[in-house]
Subunit: 241 residues, 8 copies
């Protein structure tokens, strides 16, 4: 251990009052919702059913809202059997428990754009997360660039929305086109839709990061949750700008 | 939204008459067949059985021909149970519905060349797509470069065909040899056949793109459908050259 | 060409009034500044000195502000000799021409955080872009995670700023830590600083996209310009939320 | 050596009459122009000035047209000093010798579309190759997807052209959009323009191969020559379709 | 065979007395425990149940302690049925046989830090290995950098421990922070936790190798066993420093 | 088709007498065994059971020996049920039919060295192939470099063998050590054994190709068959040296 | 900014007394040497000469020892001209200023092993760093695995040393062999020596991480500094074990 | 250090008589030529001119033949100035000193086949190495697969040669074709010739490893030296087969 760093240790001692529920395998942090204004989120992927149920129960007991993402159908059946108040959205692979009121975030809805039918699981994970964060959503689905008139056809939706989230797989071209016709924030989410050189979403990701439309920002592959959360970060701090 | 772009909005307003059937999860575009002279194609990979059936039913209802690609055997059984007029080709993993007459495209057949037995699923996806596009096919299978005399043996086939599609996995050398002895268009399709450094078809893809035979063009890995569609693009616009 | 798409053609005909200056090698778009509220930007990388000078002159002639990015020292000397009003910032590798007033964007400054001294060129490209976009900046430099107390030491800066831009190379860990202590938008910019498995910034990029802090969004490697532009997108549309 | 393959050996003996000029380091094949209807092409990249001059002189001596590609400025100065009839196109990095008449190929021009100013070297390599192959060209430059109206603005060009070649770097989205509005052949050429995750053109390449527009075919990165050659393959065999 | 290397052959002849049990498919080396002070370890991954049982039986027969790693639940059931003395730890995927006394190694415990709940299987593989090597462990779980106060909160643990092992997936930022506040050895273990650009742990690995905290050393992805073994190497040779 | 290439066509016409059995999906070449002195080999991976049985039956009917590689247990059961004379080697995943005498190849055995127990499937595929090619084998298994004395212990085996084949996964270091102590041909086979940065054998492959022991040659990952075939190529042409 | 985290802010306020010299582009931390017992290190790569000189001068002024790494010859000439007390080691590419006494660290020397002559720059960067950290070094150079007797020849060196650092490029096999014959800590440093599939050191890195010798730990490619620092971490905390 | 391994130490003690010249930075091994029957080889790449001269002088002093590979023109000028007996081959980038007689190896020449003019540097490095190893060479250059008749035209060369070395860049298809018509050993050498997805020779390497011609073995990219050495390994041990 580092010598002479006593002031850091003193500082940390002040943090000891923060309320934790230590489950052995997870520190459930009852202040996070307070700190960030969001429900506690459990990433289902990589956790056992027992761990998911354990964390969710602790949160439910505290009266918090819960969002479980990346929850496959088999695991969902077991988790929902253990905690019957949870609602499972199969396409989005999310389970939610809504027991506390959710404050509305933002005065206009978010535009949620997706390129193809196969991108829907990611788009819906995003939509469910937005719902739990109090953000209204307007969907604009199946408007890939190979039929560019479908997007142009419906572009008045951008007049009545704020942040735009674009979900696309394959070549990931849609955010570039949207970024060119929209002046507000554009959050791009590559999906693992495609095969061959799609590289499980990497082609779309690289395309979006290389976008010729300036200022498009990008989330991890299939990370519909992250895009929703990023949108909420933007909306939440309105008063600061 | 972009300010001052009123003329774009005006332009788009004229597009509103294009007929769409909005299924919620997919915009079925009844004009595409008209626009491109092709049947509506459903990429089965990444869609649920419900989505495939929903789109196919809508198309069937409109009297269009339907081609479903990347349809595994389990999904095929369910889809064909729902829409019994569909015919499933197991090797090609395609299901087709042929209810409208298909106009012949091109006056000579396409040559469809493949390197090995394991490349057949991709070659047959290509052949089924060509059939639905009205293009005649002459097959030249199992003529890999390790037995170069097998290809040379049968090369008179190139005298009576137009476009050549070459399907090959492993090192993907076949298009280079074919490109050297044929003066017309050569479309190369790498397959994911192979193991180790085949990288799921990437070695073949890189080999084809790096081909020392000038002017060989390439499709995505395993994309037999795309190669057929590219051949149709070439044949369809004959009158323009 | 697509048949029957007459409405698209009609729509496009309305776009013909948009003012372009066609330089042969570039369409200089005098409306873009109007449309997006930003100066015209010239990406110096990949262009010849002649092309850069040609485009910059046309823009200067129209009275617009100009921002040239990725301008190496040799090219800068030639470009600035041709257009003496340009000011070159060597560390940021940008040249700017400020002849029109720049409207302030946002009521609070942006926090611009960087991990190490080697990240400064990217951070300064970002700062120069923000300046040209009318956004105030508060710098927080050299606060990498290996000395976490340096960041915590100065974290009151986040109380008086809005969007946070985090520039970091090597393992790219800084945005995760910042994302955990800030509730507003966090834009991460990986830099190509590092060697070996830094992979020219790819390690930092992957780390930022995989961040365990929810809702951190990411720009391309070394894309300080893009991060600034993304921040402006967020600030510009304040009235919409 | 393979036993019993006597018939192959006999066959090969008949090939012995093909005229070669053996330069020691290269077999100059005076029949290739005859066989494929194209000038002999020398890929400058990877050859010494001495080798380039040696091959070009032999071809010039035979009265053939010559196209040298990937010829940097330094090498060009030396090669053109040795063979003064050569004309060097600096942007395209090609040198050409046109001493035999070039037969026109195709009845309509090719459309040559490029996304940005930085893509011009590849586009011009393509244009120079097309010129030497007897193919007329109509250029449509600087119409990237981030300003989609620029492409739509000029799309009547597709009515008077046949094959479309699309040159684009960064995310490589342009061919998908063009492929959606054009029914004829679309040849996509990724360029190494970009930085970071552009991966020297790999992002654009992957995007083009994954294109959601069916039947777009792709050439190697920066391979403007190959795209031109592929277009010629399509045009040359018109009579066969 | 190399000529004239007679002295090497002579040297090898002296090695012939080392006791091997040759099982046909594996040379069980009864001296290794003696040489390195560790139990014999069987990497379960890539071996058949028959091979695992065969090796473990031979070791059990000799009175040695046994550690089997990477043993999935199905294989574990069969292996433990064959050798009932084995104890299976499901989360760690290890089976152990402890029949010989284990000498304590080190005078203080090791600190075992992990970032998230999903990293637990790797952390527990590490803990089980440490136990079999005679090393005491103090666990510090679920202290990822997105909630940096959780780590700072409990950092007095570093005062009473020696080597620190840090297990983390996703961006792998935790070892950099720990390396900055601890002066002793820090061994980082990336885990395959994450999705998309996590690349199965590669992002975390690259992040850890690129760490801005000097002198952090790294093990292979998910290699909890290796980290424990490395810690033992450090502790075992105390007397040499 | 290429014009003026009449001599090639004439040559090919002479090839027409080569006996083929055209099965529709495969050209079974009854001369190959004659030409190369090897049995016909069927790569099971990527073929349907029907295709494997069809080809094997045609070969069996002609009295040839048959070697089927990469035959999983499920497929093996079906194939062997259809052709009961086949013998299946489960570890090697090969099935063989030996009905014609196999001429001995080479006067000394081959040394077949492997690093660990998990490399045995690849080593045994190699051994089975060597047996069908008439090559005697001496096995030297489980002699990885982490216990270098195990290899040195048994190195007199190199005095009585000719070609050395080295099978190793993980870091693939064994061929470098063997190549340093053996003067004859060393064929290295990387295996996909390992995890994390083993990259499915790529680390071992790269290590072997980068070997500091001069003149070590390498086969594809897991390609035990190819290594055996390469050894036979070396032995078969003894009389030519 | 996070709401309600007042205790963190209080903690941080205590850190304000830590002495910083803020140079604008770098926070020079005069306590780090105190905290970690090491000289301040300046990574030359990625910094301008002005920045290096600025930081080094500030450190020199405070009486500290200085180590500059990755300092090319051109930069070294300028830096040493500005600060003449610096000594430049050309092979190691380091410059050092030793004005304060260096306390000896460890009671035995470190063994520094390297595979080939080309690995010397990395090995010497390591040696210079060790010297500045007070660690004695015994060099064992040019003992690559292709001549395994060279290593075995000199292995008594391991009896009189503690930690072993192994520097190797190409296939990176040396640490596996060393790890098998040494029971203490082995730190492996891959170098970018090699070509082709060496991938700039990635093959060696992957080989070392995949090492079949348990408990070998790895540093970034060419990171001789990091390996030295890791060794010092091990030695510095002797009293804790 | 490993306890109880006394027999290894004893063995090593016998190795101490092997004559080394210790230059500080390299162990020059005067027995290697004796052991392997080859000249001492100095890989120039990665060594300083001083190191090359130092090693070469020591070898020259002992009367040995010397082969320096990867010696660029600038370094060659300095090295040859220091040791005037060296002969530099510019195309092959090798310098040789031939002062001892070279015994002929093999009774027939090797066939050295290359695909294009740009592959000549690698082919000539191979040829120079073969010459120093006493192996006769027959060259067959510029016979790439895009003009397959050029190879077939000259294939009688395979009747009078033994081992075949095939050097090819781009797609690396040539070894597959050669492997199909030759029954003896085929050693493939990928070159870094090409651009875009050639990936610096990786496409050719992957193609050669994935070759559909059985038993083709592969060397590292551009490793002409290694291929020659592998051929010598095959020829040298003729008496063993």
């Amino acid at each position: 251990m580092q010598r002479g760093a006593t002031s850091v240790e003193a500082a940390v001692s002040e943090l000891k009052d923060l309320p934790y529920a230590d489950l052995g395998f997870a520190s459930v942090d009852h202040h996070r919702a307070l700190r960030h204004g969001a429900p506690e989120v459990i990433l289902g992927h990589g956790k056992t059913v027992e761990q998911i149920v354990g964390i969710a129960r602790e949160l439910a007991r505290m009266g918090q809202n819960v969002l479980i993402t990346r929850l496959g159908e088999d695991a969902a059946r077991q988790v929902c059997a253990a905690i019957p108040q949870l609602k499972y959205a199969a396409l989005a692979r999310t389970a939610t428990l809504e027991q506390a009121p959710i404050a509305a975030l933002g005065t206009k809805p978010i535009a949620l754009v997706s390129a193809g039918t196969s991108d829907l699981p990611v788009a819906e994970e995003c939509a469910e997360t937005l719902r739990m964060l109090g953000v209204a959503v307007e969907r604009l689905y199946d408007v890939g660039v190979a039929g560019i008139h479908r997007l142009l056809h419906k572009r008045e939706v951008f007049d009545r929305t704020s942040v735009v989230i674009v979900v696309a797989g394959m070549e990931g071209a849609l955010p570039s086109v949207v970024g060119g016709i929209v002046a507000g924030p554009v959050i791009a989410v590559p999906t693992s839709v495609g095969y061959g050189v799609s590289f499980g979403g990497l082609a779309a990701l690289a395309g979006m990061l290389s976008s010729c439309a300036s200022g498009v920002v990008v989330c991890n592959i299939d990370n519909g949750f992250g895009a929703a959360y990023a949108a909420a970060r933007i909306l939440r701090v309105r008063e600061k700008y």
